[in-house]
């Protein structure tokens, strides 16, 4: 039995909520911001339906006000000091980075506890320690390993290159080495990226709780690796094509033909192409990662309830592309319609397998909240979501 998510929101209706949020935020000089956040969430949760029941967002503006205030002050300090006093803004950045895993854990927990479905609130049981391992420890380690790997490769190949090449073709030897180093660097970074993101996704997907049922997901680094490579391949092919075009143009330019009239045109073409490819790669990787991680996620240990996500990367890319055009050409006024389109699309391609009516569960006691961290994660735009 497959239960698809449904989204009932309408762009025209949400427009009113969105513009009133902006108006009241302006009129109150920003103080309304937490309440605006709550109205937004209420609208999107309340319009999301699963198996005949809507989701609810429970947080109040008052609960997240203090957190947003702290976050706002940090943000203002960071922005305004980043030019004049890089040391102070650097200290703020460092502080935020060290506090980041804690903020993430609190934020995931707060958002889970503030979400209710069928009278039962979600929970999050991932520990702070694991958050530090996955959001700070592994990324730092990954950088160190990647840096050691790259410098090792440069060193070994450098010695080899100098040893084997005659002084005459030293140059071609060096360019060959540079190429090999670049390929191996890309390899190292994709590998490390996959490893880090597998950790983060595992932390999140194994942390949620609905009633007494813990979510679980067996995620393999190998799969992440494969997905990132599929994205990297598209990017590399584009870079090669772009390089060929640029090379051709430079050659034409040097040989003094009339071709140089094409330079601005080709530049514009490449720029648009780059934007399109970046968008496509983003859509491709996002869709595949989401499909894979959701597909592995179960509610409860036994295979009674299973998540499913079936986004076609090209569909998602088209959605992102048309959304971008809508926002740009309406000077932002179509933003509410864009958000509704995204919510609709994601809901349509998400489902839960299993008989949800039989899922009778009891909320676990002692689910705690911390609104401050939630707001922090929001203002620094950390998009952490299940």
């Amino acid at each position: 039995m497959k239960n698809a998510f449904q989204f009932h929101g309408r762009g025209g209706e949400y427009f009113g909520i969105w513009i009133v949020n902006i108006l009241l935020t302006i009129v109150t000089l920003g103080l309304y911001n937490p309440w605006a956040h709550v109205r937004n969430k209420q609208y999107f949760y309340g319009n999301t339906e699963l198996a005949g029941e809507r989701f609810e967002y429970l947080a109040t503006g008052k609960q997240i006000f203090l957190g947003r205030l702290i976050a706002g002050i940090l943000f203002v300090a960071y922005i305004s000091l980043s030019n004049s006093m890089p040391i102070v803004s650097g200290a703020i950045f460092l502080f935020v980075m060290v506090a980041f895993p804690w903020v993430v854990q609190r934020s995931l927990r707060f958002n889970a506890v503030m979400t209710r479905y069928r009278g039962v609130r979600f929970g999050f049981v991932g520990t702070i320690k694991d958050a530090y391992v996955n959001f700070l420890g592994k990324p730092i380690l990954a950088y160190v390993i990647a840096a050691l790997w790259v410098s090792g490769v440069v060193f070994v190949l450098g010695i080899m290159g100098v040893a084997i090449s005659q002084p005459k073709d030293l140059l071609s030897g060096i360019s060959l080495i540079v190429l090999v180093v670049l390929i191996l660097t890309l390899f190292a970074f994709v590998q490390m990226f996959a490893w880090v993101n597998q950790g983060i996704a595992s932390y999140i997907h194994n942390g949620y709780l609905y009633g007494e049922h813990v979510f679980s997901a067996q995620l393999e680094t190998k799969q992440f690796d494969k997905i990132y490579w599929s994205g990297a391949k598209v990017a590399v092919v584009f870079v090669l094509i772009a390089a060929a075009i640029m090379g051709g143009l430079i050659y034409a330019f040097k040989s003094g033909t009339q071709m140089f009239a094409l330079v601005p045109l080709a530049g514009l073409g490449l720029y648009i192409g780059m934007f399109a490819v970046m968008l496509y790669v983003r859509a491709l990787v996002y869709a595949k990662i989401r499909n894979y991680t959701y597909g592995q996620t179960l509610i409860g240990a036994e295979r009674a309830y299973a998540f499913e996500s079936n986004i076609m990367p090209s569909d998602y890319a088209v959605l992102l592309f048309t959304n971008t055009l809508m926002v740009i050409f309406s000077l932002g006024l179509l933003t509410p319609f864009v958000r509704v389109r995204i919510a609709e699309f994601l809901a349509k391609h998400t489902a839960i397998q299993g008989d949800l009516d039989a899922l009778v569960t009891q909320e676990q006691a002692g689910v705690q909240t911390g609104a401050t961290a939630d707001a922090l994660s929001d203002v620094f735009n950390l998009d952490i979501q299940f």
């Binding site: 009129v27 605006a36 009778v360």
Partner: protein, 352 residues
């Protein structure tokens, strides 16, 4: 009698139920064969938002959902609801309010841009201690030197002559440059004919520009233009303004998606560029006034424009550059050359 089902908060079991509002204002909840009744004051509808179905919250953690939610909202319209929610919900669905909100939002953006930002920028810039100016100037200089910027190869005599003229001017008008000590720097920035003003009042002039402007009066005119930027504190103003704009944007559209953020930041960039155009005009006017006061006249200044323009034309043949167009003007950080020359001619005094 309204048909629906109930949850006891904390348990996901769905229990068939009915709810009724009696004539004497009692709320009756029927579940299985039993019924309980409450006062209307003890029940509340969940917050109204868009057309999301509302639920009825009853005492003892019971929540009732109706199969026909609109019926529930109609019958319990009198149940207590936070006043602000009622107001906000009313605004959100009222066409006139929405149109008004769009208008007020656009107007506030314009008003903020026109009337709030300029004095705020000046205030904040003046409040910053000169150590900040120095730190910023040094920072920019270091960044530039990491690019392909090297020591100048312009003959020492020419450097000394320009330096002497520059310093004499600055000493004569010391009180005009309160936040910073203007200082002239010569650098070789390969292939870039340019003059750059830093936050601390240091002015960097490149070898290529000196090569292009072979007459020292032309160079002097350009230096006066840059001193106009120092006098108007333009560098700090742009930095402070960019920061204020991005803070304002973040507060108002804090909930925006990354996508909208990108568009909005592009907007702030354009806004900043049009301010910077005003600054160029101001610096031009400053230079023109000084040139006239020293009885040099604006002719060398105009010649420097023409020479710069000619290198520009040689580099990339583009007709667009010279066409007067209000839109491209607004987007451009520097006003177009013809426009600048036209303005300068207004300063031309009748000279013997």
């Amino acid at each position: 009698m309204i048909d629906g089902y109930c949850y006891r908060l904390g348990n996901s079991e769905r229990i068939p139920a009915q709810v009724e509002l009696t004539d004497d204002g009692r709320v009756v909840l029927w579940m299985a064969q039993t019924h309980t009744n409450f006062s209307l004051q003890d029940v509340r509808l969940s917050d109204a938002i868009g057309s999301v179905p509302r639920a009825l919250h009853l005492p003892d953690d019971w929540v009732f959902h109706a199969y026909a939610p609109e019926q529930l909202s109609a019958v319990f319209a009198l149940a207590p609801v936070p006043t602000w929610v009622k107001w906000v919900d009313g605004f959100e669905r009222h066409r006139l309010w929405i149109v008004g909100a769009i208008a007020v939002t656009l107007l506030s953006v314009v008003a903020f841009y026109q009337f709030v930002i300029p004095p705020l920028v000046v205030g904040v810039s003046n409040a910053l201690p000169s150590s900040v100016y120095q730190a910023m100037g040094q920072q920019t200089l270091r960044t530039l030197e990491q690019l392909d910027v090297q020591a100048s190869t312009v003959p020492a005599e020419r450097q000394a002559a320009l330096m002497q003229r520059f310093n004499a001017y600055v000493q004569a008008h010391e009180t005009w440059f309160s936040k910073s000590q203007p200082k002239l720097l010569f650098r070789d920035w390969k292939g870039v004919p340019n003059a750059v003003t830093l936050a601390d009042g240091h002015i960097l002039i490149t070898d290529d520009l000196l090569k292009l402007l072979d007459h020292d009066d032309e160079v002097y005119a350009v230096l006066l233009h840059e001193l106009g930027h120092v006098h108007g504190n333009h560098v700090m103003h742009s930095v402070v303004r960019a920061s204020l704009l991005s803070i304002g944007v973040a507060v108002v559209v804090g909930d925006a998606s990354t996508l909208a953020n990108t568009v909005v930041s592009a907007g702030t960039l354009v806004a900043n560029m049009s301010y910077s155009r005003e600054m160029e005009i101001e610096a031009d006017a400053f230079a023109a006034r000084q040139l006239n006061a020293e009885r040099i006249g604006v002719a060398p200044f105009i010649r420097s424009f023409e020479k710069l323009e000619s290198t520009h034309e040689r580099k990339q043949p583009s007709a667009e550059e010279n066409q007067p167009s209000s839109i491209s003007d607004w987007f451009a950080s520097h006003p177009n050359t013809e426009e600048r020359i036209r303005r300068l001619r207004q300063f031309e005094p009748i000279m013997p």
